[in-house]
């Protein structure tokens, strides 16, 4: 995988998730982050830290990205959300504009 195609998302605990840029940009916020002019640190280094999102949530979010891509390509499956994650997940989603 080329360096330009991937991005690293780091959770509050420091856990790192490496995913495709295409998947990450399902989030409008991340998309802006990476395409904004002006040389922000994230775009420069290819990694984004989310000090306010836990690893569990971040993991789920990454899964969501991929599911979303598949869904838009026609594979219409269900995305299961564990009930205890719901609130945090929603707030993160709001933050990430996903």
């Amino acid at each position: 995988m080329k360096k330009e195609d991937i991005v690293k998302l780091i959770s509050a605990e420091g856990m790192e998730f490496v995913i495709d840029k295409e998947a990450a940009m399902v989030s409008q916020t991340i998309r802006n982050m990476l395409t904004s002019p002006g040389g922000f640190a994230e775009a420069e280094h290819g990694e984004v830290t989310f000090p306010e999102i836990s690893a569990v949530i971040l993991e789920k979010i990454c899964q969501y990205f991929y599911w979303s891509l598949q869904y838009s390509r026609g594979k219409e499956t269900e995305f299961h959300i564990e009930p205890e994650l719901t609130l945090e997940l929603m707030m993160a989603a709001n933050y990430l504009h996903t």
Binding site: A12, Q28, T29, N32, M33, S36, P37, G38, G39, F40, A41, E42, A43, E44, V48, T49, F50, P51, E52, S54, V56, P83, E84, L87, E88, M91, Y95, H97
Partner: protein, 708 residues
């Protein structure tokens, strides 16, 4: 994950609880404010987008959106004020460049800020109906930079000055111009219009007003128009390069008004170079230019048209009243033709075949041609002259072309009947002169029949008129058109004997008695022709009238009823039943030839586009052998009396002549008509001897003597 047992779902407090104290908002804001500063100072790399975004997000989330927004406004304004100072400080030419650079910087910064504050843009702003960040940025720029006292006027004057410089021939930085103008357009079309376009148009108007005044005084019409055209194209090009496309129409209007509309009168009527001069000298290029420029302004073309029309009428009037040309009709008409051709050329080459100009041309010609009442006569004489000349030397194609042109002039005549009268006279003269020539070349006999035919036509017409006027009650019945022919003059046709239908024979009788009443010793023979809806030959008429009394007739019945000879009857039926489009009769069986057993019906389905349908007679086949022989024989028969007459004439004068000499003399006399055959001449002599016109000499078998 440790301790992951199923627990009762309960909503827990958010883990990362943010401290909601007033200081929080201030702290967060400070971070963002700092970031904005950095952005404006080109120090943004190294900043964490996520951190800034999160801070803005939290502020909005915790109801501090107001603070964020107003803080943004303040910060940006402060920065822009600084920027404005630096722009004002720029010297001379660097002013625009500085402005352009700062504008680009601002745009970039604005985008970064908007990205960071995206959450606010999405949620807070729609809720409170505030201006979105991007627009806010543009508005702040506008208020603080563009509308700042010093910059505003300086900007406008710089732009206008650059345009002016370009107009006087200097090269300017068009890219820079384009960027600045685009900036104004981005700030809103009203900004563009108010801050630039309006003043631009005013200044341009003034500029062109002055320039056109100068031109008119220094240059003649043609050159002035050239200059106007150049300027017009220049402006159009200017717009494509660095102005808003919508300005094109406006600036071209300005140029048109100042350079053309205001001076139309003066240009057109300029001494020695105005419109009239151009017309006289066929200056197609200048005329075309004038046309293209004037058509852009209201009433431009109307003015050209009016001047052209009055000029044309003047020259035309002079043409037709000029004493010199009146002496020579051919010259007169030739001049008219030349004038027409000239203007046709002008209209097609310079005025792009404009219909209104064509109409003006036509009406002018019509006007002055009819001023001279002798025009029709002259035109007829011209045609006459050309047709005569056409026989010698000039190619047929050329004559055709000339006649076509004359036709165009002819259409302008109002008194076309006068033309007709003269033309008939000239035609008759031409024909008669032709006949006279034939007479002198070939002798009286040759032409007497032709002359006879002409006189017959004339007398027939007169007779017909007399007949119709003396029998007014006949106008309802079938109209009779009769040609009364002198037997000797016309090619002989076997006189037809057929039973004419009753109505016709009654009419014929009436005519016969009328005619015999006026001319006593001439037998009246009826020719062809009957005008009704169907124009048919006499035979066809007889056949058709039979169907008045019967729906269905078989061939034998028709033959009996009309007593028409068989071959003629067959041809006549063929032409009425078998010819497509003229099949007034239906035949059974539907074959091409007429058989003895065929039966005929009236064709109900007969339809034709025309009211008058002419049913011709199927043309007789090319003369078959027996027919050819027949014709040959007839010619021979005709020659016999001619030979005899020649022999008698010769013998009467010579009294005694030997055989060979007779042959020679006779041949000589007849050579203008035909080459006489010696054997034939011998036979004629024998026959004359038998009839006691001549006798053989007793002593010399070869000598002949005339018997009185």
């Amino acid at each position: 994950m440790s301790n992951q047992k199923k627990r009762i779902f309960q909503i827990e407090a958010f883990q990362n609880r943010v401290v909601v104290d007033p200081k929080y908002a201030e702290k967060t804001w400070k971070i963002l404010e700092h970031a904005i500063h950095e952005i404006y100072n080109h120090n943004a790399s190294g900043l964490s987008f996520e951190e800034l975004y999160r801070n803005a997000y939290n502020m909005v989330l915790h109801k501090f959106g107001e603070k964020l927004y107003s803080g943004l406004v303040t910060t940006m304004t402060a920065h822009l004020k600084e920027i404005s100072k630096s722009i004002e400080a720029a010297q001379g030419n660097l002013f625009l460049e500085e402005l352009n650079r700062k504008w680009n910087d601002h745009n970039k910064a604005l985008q970064m800020i908007r990205d960071i504050l995206m959450y606010m843009d999405r949620t807070y702003i729609p809720d409170t109906h505030k201006t979105p960040v991007h627009e806010l940025g543009l508005n702040l720029w506008r208020d603080n930079i563009i509308h700042s006292g010093k910059i505003q006027s300086r900007l406008l004057s710089t732009l206008l000055e650059l345009v002016h410089r370009e107009r006087t021939g200097e090269v300017i930085d068009r890219g820079l111009m384009r960027n600045i103008v685009k900036m104004l357009m981005d700030l809103g079309s009203s900004i563009y219009q108010e801050d630039f376009e309006k003043p631009f148009l005013e200044v341009s108007a003034e500029f062109y007003r002055g320039e056109s005044q100068k031109f008119i005084e220094c240059y003649d019409c043609g050159d002035s128009l050239k200059k106007a055209e150049i300027r017009l194209n220049e402006e159009i090009e200017r717009v494509t390069h660095y102005l808003d496309a919508k300005s094109e129409g406006k600036i071209t209007n300005v140029v048109e008004k100042e350079m053309i509309a205001n001076h139309m009168m003066r240009l057109v009527h300029m001494e020695n170079s105005g419109l009239v001069n151009m017309l006289l000298n066929d200056k197609h290029g200048d005329l075309g230019r004038m046309y293209n420029l004037f058509r852009r302004v209201p009433n431009g073309l109307a003015m050209i048209r009016d001047v052209m029309t009055s000029h044309l009428r003047e020259t035309g009037k002079q043409l037709v009243t000029d004493a010199e040309s009146l002496k020579d009709p051919v010259e007169y008409v030739q001049r008219l033709l030349d004038e027409k051709e000239k203007y046709d050329g002008i209209i097609s080459l310079a005025f792009s075949n404009d219909k209104t100009f064509q109409n003006a041309l036509n009406s002018s010609f019509e006007y002055f041609i009819n001023l001279n009442s002798r025009s029709p006569e002259f035109i007829s004489l011209f045609v006459d002259d050309k047709l005569r000349k056409g026989l010698k030397g000039v190619s047929e194609g050329d004559v055709e072309i000339i006649l076509d042109k004359v036709m165009m002039i002819f259409r302008y005549l109002q008194e076309k009947d006068v033309f007709e009268k003269y033309y008939k006279q000239h035609l008759a003269k031409r024909l008669l002169s032709l006949i006279v020539k034939l007479k002198t070349a070939c002798g009286y006999q040759y032409t007497s029949k032709l002359e006879g035919m002409f006189t017959d036509m004339k007398t027939s017409q007169d007779t017909m008129q007399g007949f119709c006027s003396s029998h007014p009650e006949l106008t309802d019945g079938p109209t009779l058109v009769v040609q009364v022919l002198t037997t000797g003059s016309w090619p002989t046709q076997p006189s037809i004997t057929c039973h004419l239908p009753f109505e016709m024979s009654a009419l014929c009788e009436k005519f016969r008695s009328y005619y015999l009443g006026t001319h006593t010793d001439i037998k009246a023979i009826f020719g062809k022709g009957q005008k009704h809806e169907l124009n048919v030959s006499t035979y066809q008429m007889c056949v058709l009238m039979l169907f008045n009394n019967a729906d269905r007739l078989c061939y034998k019945e028709i033959e009996q009823g009309t007593a028409i000879p068989a071959s003629d009857l067959k041809r006549c039926l063929q032409s009425m039943a078998c010819v497509k489009g003229k099949n007034v009769l239906r035949k059974e069986p539907m074959s091409k030839d007429i058989g003895e057993d065929d039966s005929f019906f009236v064709n109900e389905k007969f339809a034709s586009k025309f009211y008058k349908v002419k049913v011709g007679t199927v043309v007789a086949q090319k003369e078959s052998e027996p027919e050819k022989q027949e014709t040959r024989q007839r010619v021979e028969e005709d020659r016999k009396p001619q030979i005899e007459a020649a022999i008698v004439r010769i013998m009467k004068s010579r009294k005694v002549l030997d055989h060979n000499n007779i042959i020679a003399e006779v041949t000589k006399q007849l050579q203008s008509r035909f080459l006489a055959n010696p054997t034939e001449i011998k036979k004629r002599i024998e026959s004359l001897i038998e009839r006691e016109f001549l006798e053989r000499d007793n002593s010399d078998r070869k000598m002949y003597r005339y018997l009185a």
